[in-house]
Each structure stands twice: as structure tokens, then as C-alpha cells.
């Protein structure tokens, strides 16, 4: 199928973008196009104006200051996948990226686009959730920073207003040597996850869990924090029993049922993947169970 006709705009600065968005009716922002363009080809999305961010100055790049990694919204998934900074300071993201589409789509897909599209099974939002990322959003009205837990409002709906764009994502980094693991189950390599899990963990030399973060994707409207699992870990000695108990907490959810999997099956996957990511994350900080 072919997309419906639209007007095309190629602004060069964030100011130009926000000026356009403040005045245009029924406009949509184009980042890497790997989710938006299929929807346009299917005519799920019909817009009067496309505002392409590809030529906007200063929207791409990775920098680290004061324990935070700042990623420009137009940074391509490929750049993140091959970035030494990401591999070193945010290895969870690097591992998750290997599940994001295929090399041919990661070459164009962007982190900002992935967050704005907000597919409930998408990997990058799950990583941002696990890191308690802050999303920087700009419009003519000013700049605001939203914590990730206030970003996803409903199914494929975010806090971004029609006149706003995401300009950057800030990830608070975990201490060096932290454990991390991303794992997912999908029918075919590169598909969206039926269920995915992201775990970050810090375990001290006495095997006590100092810090833990567990998020699931594919089970709700967006990345789901498993607070009970985190509570079952923090302050406890890490062993197989602790990991099992935390994973069991991940099962106490009510996931969606759809053509890909039943709610029951997703609940089963949630427990299995929570356990595997906990086990693998712990192993990466030197604790084998």
C-alpha cells in the first residue's frame, strides 16, 4: 500500500521544528521512520504534514556527565549498538538493542522515535524504564523533563503533546560492575517480544542485594515495574531461593491476551524471563547461583 499525500518539511533547528509544530494542523514528526512509515503505508496514520528531524542540528549524540548518560533523540539505534560508551556504562541497552528489529532497521531507527512510538513490547523504552530515565521534551512553550514513569500514559500514548518533540533522554547510570540482563521471547528473531525482561542489580561482597530494578515489556501498556520482585531482592542475601521468590512475584500480573499469546502464557513467560535475567545479571556481577 501507499501512504496518503502529505506536505514535507525539513527544518534545520529545534526552534524551526517547534515553530512548525505550533502552527501546523495534523502534523507528525518523522525520526527514523521504522514504525511511522509502515503505519503510513497501511494508512493507519494519515497526516497533512510530515516534519522530518533528520537535518536538525544537535539532536544526535551520546555524552556522559555526572553519572548520567545523555542521548540525543535522533541518535540511531545502530550508533547506540556500536557505541563504546553504551557498552561500557549502559550494557543493558547494548544487550537489548540486539533484539530491536534487524541491522537494516537499526541503521535508521532512533531512540527518540522508539520512545515516542511507545509500542508496549518495545525494548528501548524498557531499558529507559529500568534506568529511571528522564525524557527531555521541547516546544515553543519551553523545555520540560519527565521521569519515565510519567511518560507512558496509555496504549501507544505518551505525555508528548502535539506541539512538542523529544530532544534527549537522560539515563542515570548504575555503579560500575553492576549486573544487567535483557532477555525476551519472540516467535522470530527481530520481532517484538511476546514478553521481555530487563534486570539491573548490585550485589555487595557479602552477597547482599544493594539495589535492584526489574521491568517487563509485552505485558501491559508499557514497561511494567515489578515492585514486589524488587522488594523481594533488596536487603536480602542473593541465592537461588531469593531469585526464585523474586521471579514468582513477576508472575503476579494480569497481562494482555492477544493473537500472539494468552494472558496465562505471558504470565508464565514473565516468571521464566524474570528468573533468567536475575540469574544472568547476578552472574555478571560475579555471583553464580
Amino acid at each position: 500500500m501507499k501512504p496518503a499525500p502529505f506536505n514535507y518539511h525539513v527544518p534545520r533547528s529545534v526552534e524551526e521544528v517547534t515553530t512548525l509544530l505550533a502552527s501546523l494542523e495534523n502534523a507528525k514528526v518523522l525520526a527514523g521512520g521504522q514504525s511511522l512509515v509502515p503505519m503510513m503505508n497501511f494508512r493507519y496514520v494519515i497526516v497533512d504534514h510530515i516534519v522530518d528531524l533528520a537535518k536538525v542540528e544537535g539532536l544526535a549524540g551520546i555524552s556522559i556527565t555526572n553519572g548520567r548518560m545523555r542521548i540525543g533523540a535522533m541518535t540511531r539505534q545502530r550508533e547506540l549498538e556500536f557505541s563504546p560508551e553504551v557498552a561500557r556504562y549502559c550494557p543493558l541497552m547494548r544487550e537489548a538493542l540486539l533484539h530491536v528489529g534487524h541491522r537494516q532497521t537499526r541503521n535508521r531507527g532512533t531512540i527518540g522515535g522508539s520512545l515516542a512510538h511507545a509500542d508496549p513490547a518495545a525494548e528501548l523504552p524498557t531499558v529507559c524504564a529500568a534506568h529511571d530515565a528522564v525524557i527531555e521534551i521541547v516546544s515553543r512553550r519551553g523545555t520540560r523533563k519527565i521521569p519515565f514513569h510519567e511518560f507512558n500514559l496509555a496504549f501507544m500514548t505518551t505525555a508528548i503533546e502535539p506541539d512538542e518533540i523529544v530532544t534527549a533522554i537522560e539515563l542515570p547510570l548504575w555503579a560500575s560492575g553492576h549486573g544487567y540482563s535483557f532477555n525476551e521471547f519472540s516467535r522470530r528473531r527481530g520481532d517484538f517480544a511476546i514478553v521481555g525482561a530487563a534486570t539491573l542489580i548490585e550485589i555487595d561482597p557479602d552477597l547482599m542485594v544493594q539495589r535492584a530494578s526489574l521491568r517487563l515489556c509485552g505485558v501491559g501498556i508499557g514497561p511494567l515495574r515489578i515492585t514486589a520482585a524488587e522488594a523481594a531482592l533488596v536487603g536480602k542475601r542473593f541465592d537461588r531461593g531469593t531469585a526464585r521468590a523474586a521471579a514468582a512475584a513477576a508472575k503476579a500480573i494480569t497481562p494482555i491476551s492477544d493473537i500472539h499469546a494468552s494472558s496465562d502464557y505471558r504470565r508464565h513467560l514473565a516468571e521464566v524471563l524474570a528468573f533468567r535475567t536475575l540469574r544472568d545479571a547476578a552472574e555478571r556481577c560475579g555471583v553464580r547461583i
Binding site: 500500500m1 501507499k2 501512504p3 496518503a4 499525500p5 502529505f6 506536505n7 514535507y8 525539513v10 518523522l30 521512520g33 521504522q34 512509515v37 509502515p38 503510513m40 503505508n41 497501511f42 510530515i50 522530518d52 533528520a54 545502530r78 528489529g101 534487524h102 541491522r103 537494516q104 532497521t105 541503521n107 535508521r108 522470530r188 528473531r189 527481530g190
Partner: protein, 162 residues
């Protein structure tokens, strides 16, 4: 909707043309430039038949509008053969190793692998398979295509060493 003027290089040749913004790059290549080697499959980024190189990076040409390629350098399957009637190294390896049957997915596979072999002259079978997950093939079961990619890598290394 107003047409826009774009200028881009495809396989080393400069083209300047006025296009409708909604025209996808694959339709531009096939219908405006008559470069029909790039195939249109699913038109929503899943099958990979339309894969081309945009500024050296593999991409779905059904998920890119021609206007986005303004100022870019493209390479399509037509750019692989050294001369009319001859085959490039990767193409020859596909022929020798039975890397194709119906041939519909082949242009996309060739472009994905062209990028891989340029970035990594000695890829593992695992890496080849990873890259080819982005190109659906319903005939071969991939064994021939993987063998062809590894064979082409060997031949290219020998060529360079010689």
C-alpha cells in the same frame, strides 16, 4: 501536495528529479529511475526485499521516502556487477552455492551482505545469520545464502591478499 526537487547519487550516477513527498524510495528507484533490480515485497519493512544502501548503510527503501534521500549516495543491486553481463564476487558466490531459488529476496540479501562484508571481511556464520534475519526467504532455508556469504568473504580476502 507540492512536488519537491531532490538530487541524489545512485550507483555513482547523479539524478535530479521532482518527486511527490509520499513517494517511497523503492517506488522512486523502480518507477522513476527504472532501476527494477530492487524488489518491492511487503511495503511495511518486514521482508527486506527492498534493502538498499543509503550512505553505505543497509536500509528498507519502502520505509524511506525519496525526499529523505535528498543529498544521499545510494547503492542498489545494479551497482554490484562490475560490467553488464558479469557478476560481482558476492553474486557469483550466490550462484555457485545455490544461494537463491526464486530470486525475489536476493537483491535485498545481496545488499545486506554487501554492508556486512565491507564492515567485517571475516564474519562468523552466526553474524551472517544475524544479518540475514532481516531478509525473509521462503525458498532456500538460508543454508545456501549463508554458505555463499562465507564463500564470498573468503574470495574477497584472497583477492585483497593477492
Amino acid at each position: 501536495m507540492a512536488k519537491r526537487s531532490i538530487s541524489l547519487k545512485v550507483n555513482g550516477r547523479l539524478y535530479e528529479q521532482d518527486v511527490e513527498p509520499r513517494l517511497t524510495l523503492v517506488d522512486f528507484l523502480r518507477n522513476e529511475l527504472d532501476l527494477t533490480g530492487t524488489h518491492v515485497g511487503c511495503e511495511h519493512g518486514v521482508c527486506g526485499a527492498c534493502t538498499v544502501l543509503i550512505d553505505g548503510r543497509s536500509a528498507r527503501s519502502c520505509l524511506t521516502f525519496a525526499v529523505q534521500a535528498d543529498g544521499c549516495e545510494l547503492m542498489t543491486v545494479e551497482g554490484l556487477a562490475p560490467a553488464d553481463g558479469e557478476l560481482g564476487v558476492l553474486q557469483q558466490a550466490f550462484r555457485d552455492q545455490h544461494g537463491l531459488q526464486c530470486g525475489f529476496c536476493t537483491p535485498g540479501m545481496l545488499m545486506s551482505l554487501t554492508e556486512l562484508l565491507r564492515d567485517n571481511p571475516d564474519p562468523s556464520e552466526e553474524e551472517v545469520r544475524d544479518v540475514l534475519t532481516g531478509n525473509l526467504c521462503r525458498c532456500t532455508g538460508y543454508a545456501g545464502a549463508v554458505a555463499a556469504a562465507l564463500e564470498a568473504a573468503r574470495r574477497l580476502r584472497t583477492q585483497r591478499g593477492a
